[in-house]
Structure formats: structure tokens, C-alpha cells
Subunit: 183 residues, 2 copies
Amino acid sequence: MKRQFGPTNAMYPQPIILISTISKEGKDNIMTAAWTTNAGRDNSSIAISIGGDKLSFRNILQTKDFVINIPGTDLLGQSDFCGQNPGEEIDKFSLTGLTPLESVLIRSKMVKECPINIECRLKETFKVDSANLIIGQAVKVHIDEKILEEGLIDFNRFKPMVYAQKTYFSLGEELGKRGLSQK
Amino acid sequence: MKRQFGPTNAMYPQPIILISTISKEGKDNIMTAAWTTNAGRDNSSIAISIGGDKLSFRNILQTKDFVINIPGTDLLGQSDFCGQNPGEEIDKFSLTGLTPLESVLIRSKMVKECPINIECRLKETFKVDSANLIIGQAVKVHIDEKILEEGLIDFNRFKPMVYAQKTYFSLGEELGKRGLSQK
């Protein structure tokens, strides 16, 4: 028996990412997000939903770039902090102890402690409800050698966080590879 | 030390969902997807990236609706099958043994065996690279009483699947609630 609810956000689970941006005056910021997805194959586009009132949104419009940093479970506390506190008055890098690292192709800096960093250039923005769907194009991807095995990510070594119903989870056990039903 | 890659899809992990649609002639289909996210708060909008060549995309354009069904790990084989086989020539409901269930507000049917079903009306589509970002508005959400505890989903009873690098994973252990850094 199922219970019926009205319109509600019930898409679970989602990835936890850190979005790092820089203002035109050069002030870095980090924002935590979960409403994000790969969006296009041929140009490696990524979509992120961000409220229009967010500092990160204004920064992205100014500099036309941002970095998607994927934290491991060891960055749980820092990731939560960057999602709970607006960046206008504070320096989230220094308060969390996270390290800003120069990107290769864009102005926004990477979060060094995250094993995956995706340098993105802003492609376009779409309005959805009162939020903005930011479309970024991945232009350079950095992956820590420690989590790579023959060019692929080893999820026994890298544990990304998964978010559902305002709760952080770890990634669970491997169930099988795509195509398992065809064998 | 990090290794540099060119543009590549590296957003991990993503949720596994089943999208059920119906053609204007009344033929049901199920497609598996992972590139999806909540997109807007006030109208509970959802974004899904779908290739323009997909039957599900054509169905959605025809009927202007679709259902997002969230499977548990017990539907691993069926979920993989629906992602591996195009629906033009086959009936995925009968081949997988999944049960089509009438929706309340829309024409596309729900997948009964999935503990969460989100009836969505098509709001708009945006072109991103060669894919299409489908924006749906959740109009009715169905959640199995068995996974609910005081109106919230209990992720000890419902185990959604998480997808990363062409591999299915279970949801891992709970790490903490949003706001944990503020305590």
C-alpha cells in the first residue's frame, strides 16, 4: 500500500559535491550542493541547480567558471560546514582548513583535499522555478593517483558521499557492472 | 599527486531511476537513467538528461508526462535490463515481470514494484550538447507505507541504488544529518 503526497522533492539519492568559485575581486568561496548531474555526453556538460540568491551563483555569472570538487567521507564535517554557512562574511577555505589550489584553465580554484576536481566553464543558465540550472562544460579533470587503478577510479579507495533526505551516507557495496542482465 | 584528464563525465555517484512513459498509441516503456537531479524547490521540478534518439524522449514529447520510479536493490537485474535494451521492439514490463499501475494524474503508468513513484508533467526541455534536459514537475508522489516511518523514508528499509563509473552500488551507512557541523 502506498501513501500519496503532493508535489515534493523525492529524488534520492544525490551526490555531495563542493563547488568552488571566485568573485571578480578575487575572493574564493566554497558551496556544498547535491542537486547536480551529468547533463551531456559529447561535451561533458554538467548541470547544477543553485538558488539565485547564492554568492556562488553571482560568482559564476561574473567569472564564467567554477570547479566541481568531489569530497570523500573524510571531509564530512567540512562539507557540511560549507553547505550551512553563507560565504559573504567568511573565508570558508581558512575556516575549514581546506586548501585552494590554482586551476589549469580557469580562474576559480580547486579544493586540494578532494580527490576529484572538475574545472568547468559556464555554458548557459536556465531558470527552473526560482532556481537556476547552471550548465557547465568540464574542460579539465584532475583525479588523485591514489584512487586510480589502471585509469579507473577504485571505489574501495575513494568513498564519495551520497545525500538523501537531509542525511549523508557513504557509498555501499558494489552490486554489479552495467550489462549484468545481458550475460 | 593528481593525474590530468581532458573533458570527461566524472560526476559520481548518481541515483538509479526507472522512467516509465507511454506512447500516444498506448504502448508502455521503461528506461533506466542515472543522469538526473532535483532541479527546483518551489515547484518540485526534476531534471533528466536523455538522448534525443530515445523512445522515452519521443513518448514524453507526445504525452507531456512521465513517471520517475525509484527501484530498490532487489530490482537490480530488471533495472539493468531496462537500461540495456531499446524499447521499440519489446515490452519491457512483460519481459521483466514488472507491473504497470495506473497513475492518478497522468497517462504514463507507474512501476508497482518501485517503493517510490513520482508522477511528473513535462514542463520544458533544454538542449545540452546532443542530449536533452527534460524538466518535469512532480505532481503526485507515491511512497510505500513499508518504507515510511513517521512520514519520512527509512533508508534501513529502502535501499536505493547508486551508480558510478558504469557500476551499481548500494547505499552505504548513515554518516550524519545535515547541520552536523553546527552542533
